[in-house]
Amino acid sequence: MIDWPAFVTVVVASLVAACGVVTVFSLALRLGDGEAAWRRPVSYALYGVCVLIVALGIYLIVPAFH
């Protein structure tokens, strides 16, 4: 009656997505200020990843893209 495999997939996917996006954004914030020269570019790259994740979200939301 309940589609348990689907539910488990949803839980795992949500967990990975939510923790993933929080990790990426947090690291971007963390590396945003600091002394080492490499930190800024890496921070911007991570913000870029966040933008891609938002784009993926919009892709998933808008039915016309499927």
Binding site: V10, A13, S14, V21, V22, S26, C50, G57, I61, V62
Partner: protein, 409 residues
Amino acid sequence: MDLTLLVVLVIGLALLFDFTNGFHDTANAMATPIATGALKPRVAVGIAAILNLVGAFLSTEVARTISGGLIREGDGGVQITPVLILAGLIGAIVWNLLTWLLGLPSSSSHALFGGLIGAAIVGFGFGAIDGGVLVSKILIPAVLAPVTAMGISFLATKVAYALVRKGQRDGFKRGQIFTSSLVSLAHGTNDAQKTMGVITLTLIAAGFLDTDAHPPFWVIAACALAIAAGTYAGGWRIIKTLGKDLTSDIEPAQGFAAEASTTATILSSSYLGFALSTTQVASGSVIGTGLGRKGAKVKWGTAGKIAIGWLITIPAAGTLAALAALLAKVEPWGVWVDVVVALLVIGGIYLWSRRNRVSHRTFHQPQPGQFVKPKKKPKKAKKPKKPKKPKKSHKPQKPKHKNKNKKKG
């Protein structure tokens, strides 16, 4: 009663329901950014309204059944008449307004399903209801949704606090705007579609549209505008419950973690085929983030009230709709009495709500809408080596710091 007039009444009530759906669900997306001060209250509801409007136009899939399989509709089942839809809508609207008055974030879809079930039971008896679908699509997910979201949000909050130092955490406000916007957009594509389905199926049942017809443009536009207007009106009571009363002092990092969890859970649930209610997911996320930060308190009394609200949404909306459906059976004037009583009740609830108003002014924000700049840490001895632009003001400060450190050492 004249069929055309009846259809007009149903459309009017459906749009009214769409409006209540909008303001009931603003909180799902915008409660946490308002609570943390990431967005000014009016700006937040404005963004949510626009995204709901856009979302409503983007959704192309039309509901084929009014009740999502809860009522045995169509071939071999019952034919839900416009009168029953009208009664169901009255039950759903009144229940949505009552829960709003109490500040309870309850699912508008459940209210609609409950209303239709109540009306269908009066029309056709209990046999019209598919109990299996009720359990597997409504009751069990109602437990799974908040629990899942709570766990995910708890972990996401832990991650955010582990990775980001205190002074940088206001940066999460920027992230909150995006996660909340995604929730709003998803809401627009999902929820406006339900009302479009109700109106389209009513028009089909009345013979104004062919079977399998797509909703006409005016239906899409009207539903989009109704849900956007409702969203802009802002169910401030529910925003207050979700943003302030459920978990004390939500911080930007928590808000971001909670909204990210809500977005991830809703999107994956709708694309991996296990539907979960947005309202329940959002409430679970807020509780989870309260558990995830040391020093934050979850108010379990409020959580309990919300849970009771979820539990009785379907029976309560069903009972209200059943009463309306019974009254509607009285032939010449029943439907009119229904509509008049419903409007009186709606007006009464509105007047009652004015006794203690909750509006955007309720949300005190020390610096509304502005990103609070992270506090600068005291400069370390190394830092002054770096700056390329030689500033005069910097140089005299250097020795001061060093001296201080030396004295302490």
